[in-house]
Every structure is written in C-alpha cells, then in structure tokens.
Symmetry: C2
Subunit: 406 residues, 2 copies
Amino acid sequence: MINDLQDILSVNIRGMKRSAIRELLKYLNQPGLISFSGGFPAPQSFPVEELKGIIAEVMENEPYYALQYGTTEGDNLLRKQLADRYKKFGIDVNMDNIIITTASQQALDLIAKSFIDRGDTVIVGLPSYLGALSAFNSYGADMIGIPMDDEGEIPEVMEDEIKKAIARGKKPKFIYVIPDFQNPAGMTMSEKRRKEIIDIAHRYDILIVEDSPYRELRYEGENQRTLYELDGTQQVVLLGTFSKIFCPGFRIGWVMGHPEVLDKVVIGKQATDLCTPPFTQRIAARYMERGYLDPKIAEICNMYKSKQKVMLESLEEFMPEEFTWTKPQGGLFLMATGPEWIDTDALLLDCIKEQNVAYVAGTSFFCNGKGQNTMRLNFSYESEENNREGCRRLGTFFKKVIAEKS
Amino acid sequence: MINDLQDILSVNIRGMKRSAIRELLKYLNQPGLISFSGGFPAPQSFPVEELKGIIAEVMENEPYYALQYGTTEGDNLLRKQLADRYKKFGIDVNMDNIIITTASQQALDLIAKSFIDRGDTVIVGLPSYLGALSAFNSYGADMIGIPMDDEGEIPEVMEDEIKKAIARGKKPKFIYVIPDFQNPAGMTMSEKRRKEIIDIAHRYDILIVEDSPYRELRYEGENQRTLYELDGTQQVVLLGTFSKIFCPGFRIGWVMGHPEVLDKVVIGKQATDLCTPPFTQRIAARYMERGYLDPKIAEICNMYKSKQKVMLESLEEFMPEEFTWTKPQGGLFLMATGPEWIDTDALLLDCIKEQNVAYVAGTSFFCNGKGQNTMRLNFSYESEENNREGCRRLGTFFKKVIAEKS
C-alpha cells in the first residue's frame, strides 16, 4: 500500500465525506429499527407480478439485445415511450430531447460534470436534496443557498444573489430546483413562482435544472405545469426517474432538454459508464408499452396518501408541542422543525440506540450548514403501523430531550 | 435555450469529443455491415437459458431485495462470490477488498475522480484502452505515454518519465496497465516485466491500476499472475468486469484493492450513481453461486480461439503484404499496422461506405496522437464466416488504397 494516500487524492474527493443517508443504510438491518431515513419506496409498491411476465418475455424474445452493450443515449424504445408519455401530458418533446441515465443521481453527476469547474457557483434551495448537493460538491461547486417561503425559493433573493455573483465574476452555471414536493422542505411551487424563476433565468441567461422525482406522487391539490413546459424554450433541463414510481433497483432515470445540452451530457456519460444497463432499460420500456405504469402510479398514490395521513396524525399525537412539520401535497417526505437549540445531528445516534427509530438530520440538506434543529422524515417505506409506532418513539425521544433541557 | 452554452461548459467537458467507438455504434445498424470495431462479445456467448431460470428464481424468492436500493459498496453476496473465486486462484482477498461498480468504465471514472486534478500526470501505455484515456481526460489528466515492446511498457522509459515528472513537481498519480492481452496492442506482460513495474511503483510510492477485463480469455500459453497478487501489499488496484465473460448488458464490474483506497472510490460513487443496479447484481451473484461462470468461460475461450484463428488466417490471405498484425494469446482484439503514410482515421468512413466493414482507427488509443497507421480489429463479435469475409473486404480496401498511392 502506498504511504501518502491522503496526499494524492483529488482536491474534490479530499473534501468529501460519506453521505449521512448512505451511512445510515448500515443501521437499517438492526432488528426492529423503524427507518424514516433514506428515500426508499415501499417494497409493496414494486410491480413484481407484472415484471415476472415482462422479464420472461424479454428473455424469450430479445435477450441478445438486452444483454449486449447499448448506446450511451439509451434504449430508443424507452426514450420513445417516455417522450410519448410527456406528449400525452401536453409537453412538446420527442426522443431527441431525452437520454437515459443510471438513475437521477447520475443525471445530477453528469450535469455537474458538464458545467462545474472548481469554484463555479450554482443556485440551490435552503434546504435542498442532499444527493444533488453532494454531486455538485464533488466537482467543487460553490453553492449559493436561497431561502424559501411556502412556494419555494424567494425570487427577489435569488435575483439579488445572482447579481452579486455576476458582480464578482462568478455568474451561476445553473439554478437547481425541485418544484414539486421539494426534498426535504415539501413545498410545491405555484405557477406564478415557476414563471418568476423562469423570468430570472431568461433575464440572466442561466440554465434551470428541474429535478422532478416526485411530481407524479400527488395526494391532493392540482398538478402544476413543469418549468420545462412553462419555459417552452428548452432552457430548462428536467431530470426524471423511475426510482419512486416503478423501482429503484433498475437504476433508470432520464434527462429531458435541448439536444445541444444533452450532447454534452452524453459525452460525459461515455466516459462515465458507457451506457445504463440495456437489460433493465428494455424491461422498463416493455413495462411502459404494456400500459402498466399509470395504474401503478395511481395505486402508489393511494398507498402513500394513507401512509402520510397516519404519519401526520401520529406526529400530532406524539410529538412535543415545540415541534412543527410540513404537510406536503405529495412526495415521500415531511420535514420537522424543533426548538432552535435542538441539534438533530448530534442526537441521531442516541435516538437510534434509545428508541430504534431513524431520521435524517436536517443539516445534510443545507449548503450553509444551518438547519441543525430540523429533520427529514420519510413516510413511504415503513408500514402504516410502523409509521405510527415510529412517531411514538420519536415523540418519546424528543420529549425526553426537551424535559432534560428544562 | 441559453445563448452561451459553449461558454458555460466545464473546462474538462469543453475539451472532450464523442468517443470514436461509441459514435461508430450508429453504423452498426447499416445492413450487411461487418463490424470489427467496438469490444462486443459474441451474443451466442450470453448464458440465456441459465439466466432464464436464475432470474425467475430471483423474482420469486427475493424480488423486494433486488428491486430496492442497495448499498454503494455493492451486493454482499456478489462481493463474497468474487472474493471466494480470487481466493480459489490463490489470491488473498476478502469481501472488504472488493466493491461493485457500474462496469469497468465506472471504475475508471471513479479512480480518475478520486485522484486526478486538472493537470495531474498519470502513466499509460502507447497505445492504451481508449475508454481509460477518455475517463482520465474527462478530469483533465496529463497523460504520459510509455512505449511498449513485446512484453508491455518498457520499464526503463517508464522510470525515466516518472523521474522527469517528479522533477517538475508532477509525480504521477498512478500507473495504468492492462497486463493481459493489452487493449489494443495485444501483448501480455511476462512475470519479470510485471515485477519490474511493481518495483518502480514501490520505489516511487505510486499506485498501480491493473485493468483486467480479458485475463480469463486465454487461448494459448500460460496464465501470468496478476500484479495485484505479485505485489502483495495492496498497492495495486485491480479492475474486473463481467462484460466479456458473462454479459455487458448487466453493467457489472468491480474494483479490488486496499480498503482505504476503496473507501475513497465509494465516496465518489455515492455522488455518482448511489449504487449499481441491485437487480443485475443479485442475478449475477446467484449465477456465480450456481457454478455457471467457469464452464461458461471455458466455452467462450473455445469460441473465441476459433474466431481468432479464422481472423489471423484471413488477414494472412487477404491483407496487402505491407500490413502486419499482432497475434495475442487471448482477449478480443488484434492490432494491425500499415505503412507509415496510411491514415486509418481519414480512411474509416470510406472503408465503411465502400466495403461495409468497420475497424477502430488506432489514433484513439495513443495519448500522444500517434498510431495513425494502425487499427484495432475485434474478432469476438462477428461469426467466423463474417470474420473471414470482413478481412477479405478490409484487404480489398487497403490493397486499393496502396495501389492508388503508387
């Protein structure tokens, strides 16, 4: 083994640590643990029976295609199915506007690889998805966090920060938003807010990266149009994924955008993994072709709506009154906020050890290191019974913490 | 769409172009084309029947595991199967020395991400695998090419170049080698040569990256021990893949090395794709567990040995006498060399259009831009009949090129 491993690491990797969430996976095997961490879909939502038939057919009819290398852009049948589905929803796209990635995380990595040099600025929410922060950080991005109100990032602050960045010669490379059921804060942008952010992007000629993993998981209220659609000029790059509406184990996501932007992403992807597994892509394409996706999404929405309801009611019942939490209209997560002095990061291991329940500490989502009194709670993975029991445990734990303080 | 796309690209992506090989994939659908390009395994080598049974069992017995997210390190059963197999060959490793990647290309990407800052030097062969050059290039590596003799990179030149790099404050981050059936040059390092290169790495405290995709595909001669084994101190990182001995469509590779090095690779992987598809990993693990891999490799070796023989005989029969080519003891490729004035890059499209046969131009493999009179020929993908017919077409094409010149 070499002697100076630390010294030879790239500057970007030297500055990174293991993701808090990924590290928590280790505790998921602890007997009886109730996990509100991670962003795991409910295993019951996986279309196992449908897939058995589809996979058998793919192995019978097209195994030599599915087991061979594929193009970097992705399986054409899958790209077409995805484009047709967006068209059905009134969005004007075709296959050339879509490439397949090894799930959304790779899309985030490739967007970062395409645009970020060390020290470049990007705009993100306060808070924002930690996997995105991690991908941007791995290329040395300087992240500018924009505070949020009930409708998302505050446009006036965003514009002000963009002006300041431009003034110091660091015009942001892109604006990263999760407009539907934001992870972790839960809010959904109104159409007005979406348009305000698009206006800013046009005014300063900046790309928007619209991360859209949860959009179809809406349990109440009305769908908002995507920024991609509202913009209409392909200045928006939309990231989609099957991880929450089909299954994460296939690792399939996509990037929708202007072909010139996609061309750069493809060049990066060639050097990164050549292609996403043609095997899982072809199975997913046949699954869509068969019309299984939409009824499955409706089924998942029913399941998660009910799980969310149980969690909201249980938090109400068990959490100390010093806590508040969001009530998102969809998605997989709530965000809970405690008194200012609470440090969820420092308390997490105690919470797991004492009460066998896990959350994600909020600081992971704040590029400015704040949010130490917040935590993200996932309601999709555990059963309704466990959602209730987990909230009871959380409540017991934090009541004790508060009692000890006073 | 934004106005200044070129201006906002990262410096690394700005400098990259689409890979010549990936671009050639577009021509693979041309009717009647015989492709000696790419590194495609023979579809007939895919274990379709065995997989049908294994997949049905995975979907019956463990679908909720296989369709869910997995750990970044990879499926433990697969890591254990791989470690046990190396142990069987006398190499002292365990599961903690192995992580799974989204095939070898991701391993190359993550090694580059872990160690390369723009302008850092790395040692590669002249020629070397273009996917590796592309991965290193995508992080801005300054590649130092080492000329090769019949046994691989020449140690004296390598040491000299390392000294010069150190003298200018740019000690190479690692030495990248493909010791078995080198891609594209075909030679296999003797044990003596392997030890010489390990000695250099120890003397200057430099990591060795041993890329080992073809090692098990040996058609004659005796196995050489891996650098990983000969070194014995885990200063070598070995990259393995199922793409050539099982199927590329699953996108499964692995990195074997010191746990401290793997830890850095895992941190990078978390930000890159979270995990390789648990679905294909679990199928591969069950496939290995069932003992299917070794007999399949023996079968592939028989098939490719015969395909290689046909290609060697056909080149002898059809190519102009001005050409020479390598006769590797294994792997998937030959490298052919024409007269100095031949430019295979400039001639490739004519060759495809006139004779409907494709190769990869040699320049893609030379980090110093040389090799314009060389080409890489794959003999694994096409049938024996096509290997013969393709060589006939190549011969016709290059005889015409030579006749026109004189």
